[in-house]
Symmetry: C2
Subunit: 325 residues, 2 copies
């Protein structure tokens, strides 16, 4: 299958690496809004301008759209689904039903297959919530994120007056994880589950006390959490906080038995050196599934919930049953 | 959906509890080879003789077959698939391709939907091996089992002369788990991954040294492992080893990036108070999927690899997208 990358930031670069690692995928090229000759790809993939993509309608099997959820994907994904099989990592949870309907309408009308909200959350974590809750109806789900860099929270800090740069880590609180794993079914507040640790580079002469207060009291982002703020130099930020690790835990505890006397714990966890490269790896596996569904005539918009595990694998059904069941 | 249980041992009792816990399932009844009036079900389910099952062909949506893999399932599952949608937990890995073909032939000829090898291994562990290897092609899988009771190993000890009863625990070795989680990609021998701990009730006057030696040198079962043997009284066995806990870990470590510079760890783990009740809970979730596939006209034999996560849930596609994605 030939894959095109639409948008070339951290996620697009990750997809380039993941396509190169896949035994059955070939990179058609990268489409960018910038002048193609100014973009150098990490593995030498060809670069095209986004305006030219329709010229290659018949040559591309799946377009992996690597735009942002806030403004790019709500228009990009439905519009590209008119001409291509597509996949995105749309992660604005509240707007998923609306985005799904928009993409589904286009894909069904034009006979394409699309998948939205691929990645790890939404994505692998969502699947694990679904599997675990279907198996243990008498139970309770917990999702913890981190330790990892939240780009949204880092951006929010950067928008504060006097902040030159910042990196925010979401940190799951061990005591809460332990309480969940004990099967005690605790009710946990937002503050009890995660803390937020911020590394901030202030501009010269900035009022650090005011910056710290602005961060800690910021509604939605920080006010409901215990937040730690460290001021560091630009050199320290570059040296110690240049990468984008992430991860987390989906845990369900539940009971079975005549009198609910038996406890069970299902846990799925990820520990990722690079959030964008792992997300990209998930997207490439789902691009394979999108291509298989398209070839079977199964059109319309899908999510990870609709894809059977076998469709993610480059191996045949017989090989999988023989080697992995 | 109406579910029938075929075979009423530990697994059948677990299915009875799991059907009662499912919001959308109803128990038709239990079919047994024993005289029905001698069988008392844990929640009062009706009991029928296996010879009468064809009388209820139109009243049962899915039959969950709770027989043993060695001799029961290879004949039971194909023969019941002639008349019913069926699901089993066949776990003789080497014979899965043959069993699959047998069931598939019957189910396709008679327009039924069947699923074989449901449970947690094969089952949830298999799915996790497949997902993880599809996402991280540059990587390595590890499966650890336990700490938990292996019924096969317990039975093997009971067959030794002078043994009255026995319970064998499979124990994953922490140092091996830690090495895997470090991302070091270790090559581990059988002996390095698990140890086997046995609690044995000897008959009066039996030669304990000989029993211990017979266990530790038993090929396939114990010879390749470090094995610990404890002799205990029958009372102690009843008091301390009456339950059937189990669990384990599926871990994949892999790398991404232009130079494979980023490491990722995917881990799925189960900690189960009751192996048969958890297995039963998985089977009931997959019975729901079998029923949905049947209603869509998707006949033939399936495995957990062929079932999209959404089909395991009692919720609608819209509800799942809204609440779990």
């Amino acid at each position: 299958m030939k894959i095109a990358i639409y948008g070339y930031g951290n996620l697009g670069k990750g997809v380039e690496c993941a396509v190169n690692a896949a035994p059955d995928a070939e990179l058609f090229g990268v489409f960018t809004r910038r002048a193609p000759n100014t973009v150098k790809t990490v593995s030498g993939a060809k670069v095209y301008h986004v305006d030219d993509i329709l010229k290659y309608e018949t040559e591309i099997d799946v377009v992996i759209i690597c735009g942002g959820s806030a403004t790019d994907l709500p228009t990009m994904t439905p519009s590209l689904a008119e001409h291509f099989n597509v996949i995105d990592s749309f992660d604005t949870h509240a707007r998923i039903p609306e985005h799904f309907d928009n993409v589904d309408n286009v894909a069904k009308t034009t006979n394409h297959t699309a998948l939205i909200s691929g990645g790890w959350d939404p994505g692998m974590f969502s699947i694990n919530r679904l599997y675990a809750s279907s198996i243990l109806p008498n139970g309770k789900d917990y999702t913890f994120w981190g330790k990892g860099v939240s780009q949204g929270h880092s951006d929010a800090i950067r928008r504060i007056d006097g902040v030159k740069d910042a990196r925010q880590y979401t940190v799951p609180i061990s005591a809460a994880l332990d309480a969940v794993r004990s099967g005690a079914n605790p009710e946990l507040t937002t503050r009890e589950k995660h803390l937020r640790e911020c590394f901030v580079v202030a501009e010269e002469g900035a009022d650090k006390a005011k910056i710290e207060n602005d961060i800690k009291t910021m509604p939605n982002y920080f006010a409901d959490y215990d937040t730690i703020v460290h001021f560091i130099s630009e050199e320290e930020l570059q040296r110690d906080h240049a990468t984008l690790p992430h991860g987390g835990f989906v845990i369900r505890t539940g009971t079975t038995g005549v009198n609910h006397e038996n406890k069970h714990i299902i846990e799925y966890s990820l520990k990722l050196d690079s959030n964008p490269e792992f997300t990209a790896s998930v997207l490439v596996a789902y691009a394979r599934a999108v291509n298989k569904l398209y070839n079977r005539g199964d059109y319309g918009c899908k999510t990870v919930f609709d894809i059977a595990p076998a469709d993610l694998s480059p191996l045949s059904a017989e090989e999988i049953r023989k080697t992995m069941l």
